[in-house]
Symmetry: C2
Subunit: 399 residues, 2 copies
DNA sequence: AGCTTAGAGTTCACTAGTTGGACATAGTCG
DNA sequence: CGACTATGTCCAACTAGTGAACTCTAAGCT
């Protein structure tokens, strides 16, 4: 950054090239690095030595049964990243390293009506607990990714008005957490982080253009375009919940009528089942009952799917992503909801766009957002192009 | 490209840096280049000499009344690019240089039913005529951008099925033209090129995220995301004409019902006026009559605007562009159509996305596509990042 | 007019960094 | 056990950018 076109910048670029190659492959010998990066063996030798001295990389004496190949891998404690996700009902924290391994992950319920100060207290506490549990060195923490369930201005870091966390409007969560933890904090909303999580670890691996649809108390989408989260100039891209399906439909909390959200989000759907199934129903419950065969719940889930499919068809015509991943509680319904979505997409999208679209359930469930927060911390950190290709599989995390 | 991380690649990068700086500013002294690029004066001195020897750049002895500043500018004949645009009714060709100046531009009517061979004959002829007229050196032609009014697979270069140019389906226009002119040809559809044209020379200058809506016999959109045309993984992004506005609306040529196109495209709108205004009406005529005060035409234009606005609102919720540019014949209607569009957007888009959106008419009219083809040729050629910031104004072209 | 000044461009010695080839090393294969 | 082969390292050559010194020109001042 400092010297844009000098050879020291070239050197740094080559360092990153090597680090990225190693990260993507997991571990490589120097000769392999030379081949994949196109650098000469001599240069690789120098760079590996430099990285080893800096502690970024570890050289294990010999790994395969070959001649004398010393395999190079990212040193596990070269850097630590932390993901924090505030959900509507709980708080999740994950700790990972630069090698994309999740070292620990834990969640606990969070009271919706808690003040933001209480929330951050809990988060700080949980982060500290995990740091102690995993025994990582605090000084190795490179960054924190933070997810919040509402519109956030990424530039200023201010949380917009959100009905989900009432007392939080106007706070600056990233600054708050940075103050408590003393490391850089990067923030984004839950839909974008879910998209990132599925992209790096879940159903979106190997794809560069992805839409992640999250259905919960609202409906939002996280868009990945060309391997990066797309937020739009104003930061509000992905508001699929408020595209109009029916100009004279129900009034939405946004002030318009017939938004997708009014046909799909929990707060509008659950009342439909109140008279028949009681008032304590949650979306989770509807999904469970539907899977057990309850016809009313099945019908409601299918209807929701059809409406989401209409929205996805529009998205598909406009953006033509190669994959749509469904997240949130609703994804647990599997084919009960995916079938109707695909049907609607097939009906309403133009054939050439629909043909190569695959609609998949999220592979990470409720973990998508925390893992996305981890990925955000990773991607904001130094090596900017970490979302290139296929990545190493995620290790099973406890909790 | 050949040696990814070597210092020769660094050198090439620095060459491009300098060229870009000069291009963006029009002309600079060496000291200014050093300041804007961050390179040292010595390096700039070497690079300028190299570029001058290569003929890429011209050094005019002295320009301002300063001390002894030799201003550096791109040499006018360093490279020539050509834009060719096949429209529904005419063929346009433009010739420009690397300095973003349009040297000549001409259009002629094209018979819709002409065979593709005839079309290419005409194009080749017109290109040759302009080359002669401007007196440019054929060997200096760096590339050709080609616009076609229909879906094209950018990878394979094959034109998809299109009702607009019946005899052209399955041809490979880029290869065809490359064969005739002997230079690299890059192809894209009219909406994308219109977007590019407006981005570089028209209403989109200085913006990085733009949607160009073209209303003609169909409705299409060209999306610019982060300064680059976004085509989507399947190449069919931007099909705004086929998002569903009314599930039980008129049947569209795509097979669905109630697509935006059925409310806005000429082929569906003109029949509305047949009984009152006769059958010879064109969209152009409707616009002219509307501007002269004809109430029926005004009503139709406003209705079209409202429907387009609904589509733009969806686009806006999903992508949140900072600017929407309206192109095609309809743009001539000015406020008659922009007013209703803005009204619909304000009504159907979520406020935070609509707030910072500006809806503008295209500044280039029917020239948008040819100029976009020029810009495509420029951007595909070497210096990849030519769409960075503000560009030099377009010189008035004859014809 | 003559002197000073200040910024522009060039030259030169120096340094950072990559590369090809030579060389040592340590495994496998016959 | 020796030939073979791919790996990693070392060294000399080369490429390219940089700071400092230097020259040059025109403006400003006396």
């Amino acid at each position: 950054m400092e010297t844009p076109g000098s050879q020291s910048s070239l050197h740094r670029a080559n360092l990153e090239r090597v680090v990225r190659a190693v990260r993507l492959a997991g571990s490589l010998t120097q000769a392999e690095i030379a081949r994949t990066t196109g650098l000469s063996a001599a240069t690789v030798s120098n760079i590996v030595r430099e990285l080893k001295d800096g502690g970024t990389v570890e050289v294990t004496p010999t790994s395969a049964g070959g001649r004398r190949a010393r395999s190079v891998s990212l040193s596990g404690d070269a850097g630590i990243v932390i993901g924090v996700d505030f959900g509507h009902t709980h708080l999740r924290v994950a700790i990972g390293n630069l090698a994309h391994q999740v070292l620990a992950e834990e969640s606990e319920p969070l009271d919706v009506d808690a003040s933001s100060a209480q929330g951050f207290d809990r988060a700080e506490e949980l982060v500290n607990r995990l740091i102690v549990a995993t025994g990582v060195d605090r000084s190795k923490i490179a960054g924190v990714g933070l997810g919040v369930p509402g519109p956030i201005d990424v530039e200023s870091g201010t949380l917009g008005s959100t009905a989900i966390l009432p007392g939080w409007t106007g706070t600056r969560p990233a600054e708050e957490l940075r103050g408590r933890l003393g490391v850089p904090v990067h923030v984004d909303n839950d839909a974008n982080l879910g998209a990132l999580g599925e992209l790096v670890w879940g159903s979106g691996r190997g794809v560069k253009d992805l839409a992640y649809i999250k259905v919960a108390s609202g409906v939002g989408a996280g868009l990945v375009i060309n391997g990066k989260i797309y937020r739009g100039p104003g930061g509000t891209a992905g508001e699929i919940g408020h595209i109009t399906l029916d100009e004279s439909g129900p009034v939405c909390r946004c002030g318009n009528r017939g938004c997708l959200e009014t046909f799909a989000a929990a707060r509008y759907v659950l009342p439909l089942l109140q008279s028949s199934h009681g008032t304590d129903l949650t979306m989770e419950g509807v999904v469970r009952l539907g899977r057990d065969g309850d016809p009313g719940c099945r019908r409601v889930i299918a209807d929701v799917g059809r409406h989401i499919g209409s929205g996805v068809a529009n998205l598909c015509n406009l953006l033509n992503p190669s994959r749509v991943v469904l997240g949130g509680d609703l994804a647990e319904a599997g084919e009960l909801v995916l079938g109707p979505i695909r049907e609607s997409v097939g009906r309403y999208a133009i054939p050439s766009a629909a043909r190569q679209l695959s609609v998949l359930p999220g592979a990470l469930g409720g973990r998508a957002e925390v893992l996305g927060a981890l990925a955000l911390a990773l991607s904001e950190m130094g090596d900017s192009t970490l979302l290139d290709g296929t990545l190493t599989a995620v290790t099973p995390a406890f909790t």
